[in-house]
């Protein structure tokens, strides 16, 4: 029998990295991949809005108001000469161009709010989860207070107090998401706090702040990423609601919400104006949800 310490043979086969396995698990989910493609398309169109848009989104052409989809206009009847892919609105502005720039704004507010919330939630969640005790208790009670206010009212109140603007919309929505994120982060940290992993690191003598950043944070990333992508959808819807009610982005700036508001006021006579903005919202939120679910499945499967 083999006695003594034996040198282990090096692992013969290449073990694929965990990242690769997860990526492939995700790729196998056809709807999720399509959703990501759709999102990429939307984001790119927002980024390159100035290049793609045929007209200036705020340029008015009163003579050509309420033009139908695909209509073409030539001088000297109209100021904006050219094809209006999605028609024009009540002030003759090209809807397609407005939509592109609105995408920019809506995505910026939606993602911005979520990112802001995450940034604010991380330190509180990590500290509350890791240290526990009175600090944890205090943070959780504050969160309870915030969460006990009906969300819409909360957001409206904040927006009302701070004044309606794009920046304040991001702040209001950010405050809305922060408690949820803190809760999620905290519960993940609490799970890990009592794990063998953290106990080992503490026994080695690694300072707490290193444990949090190096060992806990990377291992809670997965559920966080899933939550962020799902919340982004909610954030975009929330932005649309805010702007729709006039508490968010202000006209004449275009956001999906303001466009929706604009169209809604004239829905009886020109019903088709609702379509571009509402479809944009629906498509984006749906894609975000499908992609988020796909992420959850892919990240959860491979342990």
């Amino acid at each position: 029998m083999t006695l003594g310490v034996v040198i282990q043979e090096p692992i013969i086969e290449e073990y694929e990295r965990l990242g690769g396995r997860r990526l492939r698990a995700f790729m196998r989910n056809r709807p999720a991949v399509i959703a990501v493609a759709v999102l990429a398309f939307i984001i790119l169109s927002a980024v390159f809005a100035s290049l793609i848009a045929p007209f200036d989104p705020s340029e008015i052409d009163l003579m050509n108001a309420f033009a139908k989809l695909g209509s073409h206009c030539s001088a000297p009847d109209c100021q904006l000469v050219g094809s209006h892919l999605l028609g024009t609105d009540n002030l003759g502005r090209d809807v397609f161009s407005r939509l592109l720039f609105a995408t920019r704004i809506s995505l910026f507010v939606g993602f911005g709010a979520v990112v802001a919330a995450l940034t604010l939630a991380l330190p509180f969640g990590l500290i509350a989860g890791y240290l526990g005790g009175k600090l944890d208790w205090l943070i959780m009670r504050i969160i309870d207070i915030i969460l006990s206010i009906p969300p819409l009212i909360l957001v409206f109140a904040i927006a009302g107090v701070l004044g309606a603007s794009m920046k304040n919309a991001i702040i209001a929505l950010g405050i809305f998401f922060t408690p949820l994120f803190i809760r999620l982060i905290r519960s993940e940290v609490v799970n890990l706090r009592n794990s063998q992993l953290v106990e080992t690191e503490r026994a080695i003598g690694v300072p707490d702040r290193y444990i949090l950043v190096r060992h806990i944070l990377p291992n809670i990333a997965s559920p966080l990423i899933v939550q962020v992508s799902l919340s982004a959808g909610t954030a975009i819807l929330a932005e649309a609601s805010l702007s729709f009610l006039g508490l968010g982005v202000q006209p004449p700036s275009a956001s999906w919400g303001t466009m929706l508001q604009n169209a809604f006021e004239r829905i009886v006579q020109h019903w088709w104006m609702i379509l571009p903005s509402s479809m944009a919202i629906a498509m984006t939120v749906f894609a975000l949800n499908v992609a988020g679910d796909g992420l959850r499945d892919a990240l959860g499967k491979v342990r």
Partner: protein
């Protein structure tokens, strides 16, 4: 302190009258707290270069003792000395600096190794915080460490999930030895491994311990392995050490009825011997640490229980060979009527 030929030896680590209580809400009432005494007035010493085995079943408190030594838990009472200094008095920062001298290897069920970090970085981590080596010096040391435990530098770029259970335990051992600790606490280091891998790792531990002269606390439930690897064995039951002595003595001629039952409970792999030896099967369940029996805590299951056992807790009595046992049969000896130490000896039909 131990008296040797060269004079008195200072223990590397010493526990004095250490007690640890855990509190939980009462399960059968609305108010009130249940107190679980996990460790009750335990004193023990580990000398440099020796390996002390700590065995016991659930509720014995052996894992708690390990964690107290690592100061991952604070004792409710008592002192813990590292090379003569009381570490229970130290604040967190000072304690952290001392951790380089007391390291641990745990049972790797769920993973002691962060799956997102490479083996190389994991090995370097203790050096980051407990040594003054710069990055390239650390790298050299990491290479030394990985080969010390029988793996190759090949493995440094791998992630923990790419290694087998036995290999991961080797990495954990290497990590624990990185800072050249004086004391190593091993909490069931091989229990989660396959049988064929267990002996590999046990051999490794034995060799390293002899070579590096580290004082080891080997916590396990497998008396066979502990007997093979350790110089001395301490047996715990419900938070108290009920027998301690040289590995040979505790194993071949155990004095405490519980130790006898424990040894008897482990089936012998040779069927001829197994079928012929005397079996001691204890009655009843193991009491929980919230409900420790009065008097001798083992009296509810002891086959030799006497009246005095139910009321008076026995203290450790020392024999000439250095072995100590907490049992009235040994303290009062043949003075008590009925069962006595002699009948205990007779039952050792190995």
């Amino acid at each position: 302190m131990e008296v040797t030929d060269s004079g008195l030896r200072e223990p590397a680590m010493q526990l004095k009258n250490v007690r640890k209580e855990f509190y939980s809400r009462k399960s059968n009432a609305i108010r009130g707290v249940d107190v679980a005494v996990a460790v009750d007035d335990v004193s023990l010493e580990i000398y440099p270069g020796e390996s002390l085995g700590l065995v016991g079943e659930s509720g014995s408190g052996k894992s708690t003792v390990g964690r107290l030594m690592l100061r991952l838990l604070e004792p409710t009472n008592g002192q813990i000395y590292l090379s003569g200094n009381d570490i229970t008095k130290l604040n967190r920062r000072k304690m952290r600096r001392l951790r380089g001298q007391v390291q641990a290897v745990f049972q790797d069920i769920s993973g002691s190794l962060n799956p997102k970090i490479t083996i190389g970085k994991l090995l370097a981590e203790p050096l980051e915080f407990h040594s003054t080596l710069n990055k390239s010096q650390r790298e050299i040391r990491v290479r030394e460490l990985i080969e010390l435990v029988g793996l190759s530098v090949h493995h440094l770029a791998r992630y923990p999930y790419e290694l087998s259970g036995g290999q991961r335990q080797r990495v954990s051992i290497a990590r624990a030895l990185a800072t050249q600790p004086k004391v190593l606490v091993l909490d069931e280091p091989v229990s989660a491994l396959d049988v064929s891998t267990q002996s590999q790792v046990v051999n490794l531990l034995q060799e390293l311990q002899e070579r590096l002269k580290v004082a080891c606390l080997f916590i396990a439930h497998d008396l066979f392995i502990v007997h093979h690897v350790c110089n001395r064995i301490a047996v715990m039951y419900l938070g108290s050490i009920i027998e301690i002595g040289s590995a040979e003595q505790v194993y071949s001629s155990p004095r405490h009825p519980y130790t006898q039952a424990l040894i008897s409970a482990i089936p012998h792999p040779n069927p001829t011997i197994e079928l012929n030896r005397k079996r001691i099967v204890l009655e009843g369940e193991i009491p929980t640490p919230t409900n420790i029996p009065s008097g001798c805590r083992f009296h509810t299951r002891c086959p030799y229980v006497m009246d005095i056992c139910k009321t008076v807790e026995p203290t450790l009595k020392e024999y000439e060979d250095g072995g100590r046992v907490a049992c009235h049969l040994h303290i009062e000896g043949p003075k008590l009527g009925g069962k006595s130490v002699d009948s205990l000896r007779d039952s050792l039909a190995k």
